[in-house]
């Protein structure tokens, strides 16, 4: 579903991502962990076409993000670490805008908006301007918008930040549901306990380089993910 092949991205002299390669299969929940500034967000932004990378290739469902960016973006949904949405729109206007861009059928979008907004208890607020939303409400709206067009690949940057425990639990459920349908999720997180319980596979990045990846058992063995992560951080120092 997502193939990152030898991707390198530099900011001036500094290599933010250095020869990174990952392969994410359909139906997988793939966690991406690393300390602040390790290159997680740069990688995720490169995958969704926001950042141009210097070397390597990224394929989404067999299509190159460089050669067919629109084809790739049609299959993808992205939720950034800070949900800066159009504050001049109401929640429902925003959802309809996203649905229009992805060409979602009117009946189908109404059904999905009703379903997800009810689950997140956001229905009553959909007529409110996004400017009046709290951080958590914006995050919920961004999640609904991401799910609205049934993407084959969902990219999320710290998706649990700002969500209340109930919404976080719901998101985890939705992640399992969507992957059971054959889609894949690639997300970054600092919450190692969540990654450990939720992910099928995990990749650990440091200084832009991949230091370990694989199934959860392959990466952590009998230890906890936190122990492995801290050990790897120290080893590389």
């Amino acid at each position: 579903m997502l193939k990152i092949s030898h991707v390198t991205k530099s900011y001036g002299e500094k290599k933010a991502v250095d020869d990174l390669s990952l392969h994410i299969q359909p139906g997988e929940i793939y966690g991406f962990i690393g300390h602040n500034g390790a290159g997680k967000t740069t990688t995720l932004k490169s995958v969704v076409g926001i950042l141009q990378f210097d070397q390597g290739e990224i394929y989404i469902d067999g299509k190159s993000i460089k050669e067919d960016p629109l084809g790739c973006k049609r299959e993808t949904a992205y939720i950034p670490d800070n949900p800066d949405l159009y504050e001049y729109m109401t929640g429902i206007q925003y959802l309809n805008f996203i649905a229009d861009i992805f060409g979602v059928d009117a009946d189908e979008r109404l059904k999905d908006i009703r379903k997800y907004a009810d689950r997140f208890e956001l229905t009553q607020d959909l007529a409110q301007p996004i400017g009046a939303y709290s951080h958590g409400m914006k995050q919920k709206l961004a999640i609904i918008a991401a799910w609205l067009h049934h993407p084959r690949l969902i990219i999320m940057d710290e998706p649990f930040v700002g969500l209340d425990p109930k919404a976080a639990h719901l998101l985890k459920e939705m992640m399992h549901e969507v992957c059971a349908g054959g889609s894949a999720i690639f997300f970054s997180t600092h919450v190692l306990e969540v990654a450990e319980k939720l992910c099928d596979k995990v990749a650990i990045i440091k200084g832009g380089q991949l230091i370990r990846s694989g199934t959860m058992d392959e990466v952590k063995g009998d230890d906890s993910l936190e122990d492995v992560f801290l050990e790897l951080e120290e080893e590389k120092c």
């Binding site: 629109l70 800066d84 001049y88 805008f97 060409g103 979602v104 229905t123 607020d125 007529a127």
Partner: protein, 533 residues
């Protein structure tokens, strides 16, 4: 701490002159100097030029009538009007609605220090506009009437005191707006309507200015005496400009007292207003049937929503939407008389009347400038258009369509009004409309070109991209200059011999050629820039 905050505020205002956001690095000294010189030339050349003309017209006659103070009073009141004009809502936004309010208030910084740093941008804006009147006023006085230590010191103090008074007045009005705003429900449109009332008053006075000035000059001494008797503070303001020590002292004291009262008033309520969310009606969502839109329609809808949700955007970049129909209706009423007068003035240059009307049409269209700040206004939401399955060109095209639609429709109304009068020959009117369309397209394209070349995506108040950015100033004044060039070429050179159709036809051709060049640039290079911002 104050120094740091003031520096932050100044960096935000002047960022686009020094910093290339696209390349993520500072401009070269040469490029920075060029931008600054261009901006100063536009401010001094266009706005300063208008008030230098006014000063030259009234200074000497009033000095000869021995009412120099009346000259300074008039120029001072004009400066105060211009400085405070339109800045009411800007002051409100700058002082109370900055996006970094929460961050700064959470830091160990005194509220008064935050207020002072905010006041700095209000002061600079007021100084820029009031200075465009007071600076020519004092210089013309020094050159034509008196150049002495007393006059120079008085002139400088007069300039400074007026700029402080303008800031005080703007803040007081901004405070009132803030108080009212907290109780309003449909803020955007009420703000626009009130502002338009201000504009209406301003333009009414502007149209009457020539007649009023002639009347004043003819009876300067009589009016002077009346003002002195019934409006003594105005007399003192005028006297301060001449360097009268007593008047300077009183005016200075009054300005400082006003400032202190305003400061007291603001400091008592700043925290409450800056952190208040105001009254918002909680609309409950009711599910409705949805009509699916195509991508271009959805993107255009997004632009329309953005434009109509922001009073600042509408007022600063969409004045032509109102002025074009108003001009059309005014032409229906007064068109015949106006054309007769113009015919008498330019009887020796056939086609001049139609050319002036055509130039006026373009000048009014140039008041619409919504494409210029539109790229910067994407701000932190830029990730959305970059991650959605849409091409950068589709985004740019929606911005162009907004500009073209909101200018083209009012322009068509204006031209229909002109046609209804039957004064203008239809073929000349049609040609004027074609040039008008070309001009509005050029304004839209050049606005986007400049917006992409000088983006400012890291603003904390939307006023920064709308009102304080170089691209908006260059596009707006560039539009005025283009119109001026069009009119001056015909009225002041021998090009009139080509006839209206020939001259306008060539200008239209050049305009569309420029449009084509910009269009191709935007489609290729501009799209690439937007994708990589």
């Amino acid at each position: 701490m104050l120094k740091v905050l003031v520096k932050k505020q100044l960096i935000e205002i002047f960022r686009s002159y020094f910093y290339n956001a696209k390349k993520n690095k500072a401009y070269s000294k040469g490029a920075t100097a060029a931008y600054v010189v261009l901006f100063v030339m536009l401010m001094v050349g266009v706005l300063g030029g208008i008030f230098t003309g006014m000063a030259l017209m009234i200074c000497k006659p009033m000095a000869e009538a021995e009412v120099e103070w009346f000259y300074f009073a008039l120029m001072g009141l004009t400066a105060i009007l211009l400085g405070a004009f339109g800045s009411v809502f800007n002051t409100f936004s700058s002082l109370y609605l900055s996006k970094d309010n929460d961050l700064l208030l959470s830091l160990p910084i005194q509220v008064s220090v935050i207020m002072i740093s905010r006041l700095m941008s209000v002061y600079l804006m007021g100084l820029m506009y009031s200075g465009a009147v007071t600076l020519p006023a004092v210089i013309v006085y020094w050159v034509t009437v008196e150049f002495s230590v007393k006059a120079v010191a008085g002139g400088i103090l007069y300039l400074v005191l007026i700029s402080i008074f303008v800031m005080t007045l703007s803040c007081a009005l901004g405070w009132i707006v803030a108080k009212i705003s907290l109780r309003l429900k449909h803020k955007s449109f009420i703000t626009v309507i009130i502002s338009l009332a201000f504009f209406g008053g301003y333009y009414f006075i502007s149209f009457q200015a020539q007649r009023l000035i002639s009347e004043l000059l003819a009876n300067a001494a009589v009016y002077g005496m009346q003002v002195k008797s019934f409006a003594y503070p105005v007399y003192l303001l005028g006297m301060s400009g001449t360097g009268d020590l007593g008047a300077l002292f009183v005016v200075m004291a009054a300005v400082l007292v006003f400032f202190a009262v305003m400061w007291l008033m603001m400091s008592k309520s700043f925290l409450k207003i800056a952190t208040s969310t105001g009254k918002t009606e909680h609309k409950v969502y009711r599910e409705k049937t949805v009509k699916c839109k195509s991508i271009p329609t959805a993107l255009l809808g997004r632009e329309v929503l953005h434009f109509t949700s922001s009073p600042n955007y509408m007022l600063n970049c969409g004045l032509g939407i109102i002025l074009l129909p108003v001009a059309g209706i005014a032409f229906l009423v007064k068109g015949k008389g106006l054309c007769m007068i113009l015919n008498q003035v330019f009887w020796d240059r056939p086609g001049s009347v139609m050319l002036i009307l055509c130039a006026a049409l373009c000048a009014l269209a140039s008041m619409n400038d919504m494409s210029a700040p539109s790229v910067s206004l994407e701000g932190k939401n830029l990730w959305l258009i970059q991650s959605l399955p849409i091409t950068p060109w589709q985004v740019l095209r929606a911005k162009l369509l907004l500009h073209a639609g909101l200018t083209g429709i009012p322009m068509l109304f204006c031209v229909i009004c002109m046609a209804v009068t039957g004064i203008c020959p239809w073929e000349q009117l049609l040609l004027s409309f074609v040039l008008g369309l070309g001009f509005l397209l050029l304004m839209a394209l050049s606005g986007l070109f400049l917006g992409l070349k000088m983006p400012n995506l890291n603003w904390t108040s939307e006023l920064a991209p709308i009102k304080q950015s170089a691209c908006v100033a260059v596009n707006l004044f560039g539009g005025f200059l283009y119109t001026l060039l069009f009119a001056a070429g015909y009225l002041m050179t021998d090009l009139w011999k080509m006839g209206f159709a020939g001259y306008t036809g060539i200008f239209t051709g050049i305009t569309f050629l420029l449009c084509l060049v910009l269009y191709r640039w935007l489609k290729k290079k501009g799209s690439q820039i937007l994708a990589e911002l």
